[in-house]
């Protein structure tokens, strides 16, 4: 277990390094950032001044390492637009996005897991059909389209729920549901497939042959094994859910990290963009690492594979 853990930690650390390089390099991919900052009216002298001010005239590697050492100390530089430390902005905006993501994920799991179990236990039944239809629809419906349809029915035509902001629990219903429906299909399908697979296995047949009640077999033995891949999937989904909130936050005018990312991109506020891409990636890496550790702890076979 210690070897497995060390290995996974090492790979994750490498990943963080690689991802940090990419998020840093993104800014330089389009050429000279100083010229961009100076704008179309700026002269070459303006650009040179800005380059000196922000240190763009130094070699790229040296800029990267000074940025990285700042990041390791929690200093992402200053936002060009707000003229405030990016870390402050992150602390201000991230909790809302994390809250939205966590609530959406919880909702998705609460619906998808029981539905997936029911579907996998009785393939071809009504529950199965409902599960598969929901999965198909959820997979095909872009979250922002769904969000608008909700908004039209629930806020415009009937004033049941507020259309924008994120102040009370009533504000959270539509964005969370839209995101949850986006996350559900994969979980339903995986849960269903795993359940079918597990229920066919020898140890379940043995448990049944020994006279255990069907319910006990499903809940105690089958579920534990069928849930394992779902843990990995849920972690990965949570990561993409956070990034997917960019669109949903813009639809519902929620002032979270997704909205911050979008306006920063529009404003060309690259220290903020770099920080946000890095932080969203970090979330994904940490979440998948956690899932791997949980799975390694649950199942010795995973540890052996490394």
């Amino acid at each position: 277990m210690i070897y497995y853990l060390a290995r996974r930690l090492f790979v994750s650390a490498l990943l963080v390094g690689f991802v940090s390089m990419i998020s840093f390099a993104l800014v330089f991919a389009s050429g000279n950032p100083a010229a961009k900052l100076a704008g179309e009216a700026g002269t070459a002298a303006d650009a040179a001044n800005l380059a000196a001010q922000y240190g763009f005239n130094r070699p790229v590697t040296s800029q990267y390492f000074s940025w990285l050492s700042g990041v390791l100390h929690g200093d992402f530089g200053n936002s060009l637009y707000f003229n405030r430390p990016v870390s402050e902005l992150l602390l201000q905006h991230f909790p809302l996005t994390a809250q939205l993501g966590a609530m959406a994920m919880l909702l998705a799991l609460l619906v998808a897991i029981p539905l997936g179990i029911a579907a996998g236990r009785y393939p071809g039944s009504i529950a199965d059909k409902i599960a598969l239809t929901l999965a198909s629809i959820g997979q095909a419906m872009p979250p922002f389209c769904l969000a608008f349809l909700f908004m039209i029915v629930l806020s415009v035509q009937n004033q049941i729920l507020p259309a924008s902001g994120f102040d009370t629990w009533r504000h959270a219903i539509m964005p969370c549901t839209a995101l949850a429906i986006f996350a559900m299909p994969a979980i339903i399908r995986l849960m269903r497939a795993e359940m079918i697979l597990v229920l066919r296995s020898d140890y379940i047949r043995t448990a049944r042959a020994m006279g255990l009640a069907s319910r006990a077999v499903v809940l105690k033995y089958a579920l534990r094994n069928a849930l394992r891949p779902t843990v990995s999937l849920a972690a990965a989904q949570m990561g993409s859910l956070l990034a997917g909130s960019v669109v949903i936050e813009s639809v519902f005018a929620i002032n979270g990290a997704g909205q911050l990312a979008w306006v920063s991109i529009l404003r060309g506020d690259f220290p903020t963009i770099q920080a946000l891409i890095l932080v969203f990636s970090l979330f994904y890496i940490v979440l998948t690492l956690c899932a791997d550790v949980i799975n390694g702890w649950l199942d010795p076979r995973v540890r052996a594979q490394g």
Binding site: L26, S30, L132, Q139, A140, F144, C145, S240, S281, Y284
Partner: protein, 288 residues
């Protein structure tokens, strides 16, 4: 598939027709949509760019104020919504196909190399796949498009360069399992080069699976393009992209919700059909 399972099996000549239609519902709908997008604009004789402020914000035909002249109504600049929607399907289809092909080439190359050679090659490529998975695709795409300027070509390039991980994962697993298959060993004994083996022995065996992933990827690309265009960093206006139509329609969501609903439903239908066709392919492959 589900349509044949629900009712009692229809018999007779008519029943047979119904069965075939039922099995291929989504394929037929998709074909009709694409066909409408290709020839529709000529038949309609409506231009998606012509503005007419006198006839702006007209309701669709099924409402009281609607006319047959503009079946789906007109938008805030008086442009015909139906014509824009048909052109929007063209753009979505173009993006879906080109991104799926581009991602397919990149992902399959990486995946086959990793699976076939294993060892260090596999480690490096697997690392690349994981790194790609951890990057938030929509944020990176937004950032890159904002730097290079929004255009159709840039959107296709960015999404194609970002979306290849599914091909890589599947072709890696399959190539690894085929590496020591008997027919591969036979080729190797005959003195075939690695390149020949990968090209002639391994790749043909991956083909069906790659096509299935292609449908998922095309659907993803269509959704992503719509999201990017919705956020103003995808296909630039006045091009008629479905995402852009939704974004422009949201200004008038209070007065004319159909401007948002029509492109949303079309996007849903398009992605649904592409997904279902992929699933049908998968099911028919599983039967073999």
């Amino acid at each position: 598939m589900s349509a044949t399972m629900t009712g009692a099996t229809p018999t007779g000549k008519f029943g047979q027709l119904r069965r075939v239609l039922g099995r291929n519902t989504f394929l037929i709908v998709l074909a009709v949509l694409i066909l409408a997008a290709i020839i529709g604009p000529w038949l309609l004789n409506a231009d998606p760019y012509t503005q007419n402020l006198l006839t702006r914000l007209q309701e669709p035909v099924w409402t009281e104020d609607g006319t047959w002249k503009h079946v789906f109504g007109t938008d805030q600049l008086g442009r015909d919504v139906l014509a824009r929607m048909l052109y929007g399907i063209r753009i979505s289809a173009l993006i879906g196909v080109s991104v799926a092909l581009m991602g397919g080439v990149i992902g399959t190359t990486l995946g086959v190399l990793a699976g076939y050679f294993g060892g260090v090659t596999d480690r490096i490529i697997s690392f690349l796949i994981t790194a790609r998975l951890s990057l938030p695709i929509i944020l990176v795409a937004l950032a890159v498009v904002s730097m290079f300027g929004a255009s159709l070509l840039i959107v296709v390039m960015v999404l194609g360069l970002l979306q290849w991980e599914r091909y890589a994962l599947v072709s890696r697993t399959m190539a690894a399992s085929l590496r020591n298959a008997e027919f591969v060993t036979a080729s190797r004994i005959q003195g075939c080069s690695h390149w020949q083996i990968m090209w002639h022995d391994i790749l043909p065996n991956l083909f069906t699976n790659l096509v299935i992933i292609g449908t998922i990827d095309a659907a993803m690309a269509i959704t992503l393009e719509a999201s990017l265009s919705f956020l103003g960093l995808g296909v630039p206006p006045p091009m008629p992209s479905l995402g852009l139509m939704i974004s422009e329609g949201k200004e008038n969501i209070l007065f004319q919700p159909s401007l948002v609903v029509i492109p949303s439903v079309m996007l849903f239908l398009l992605v649904l059909c592409v997904n279902r066709c992929g699933e049908y392919l998968r099911a028919s492959q599983a039967k073999e």
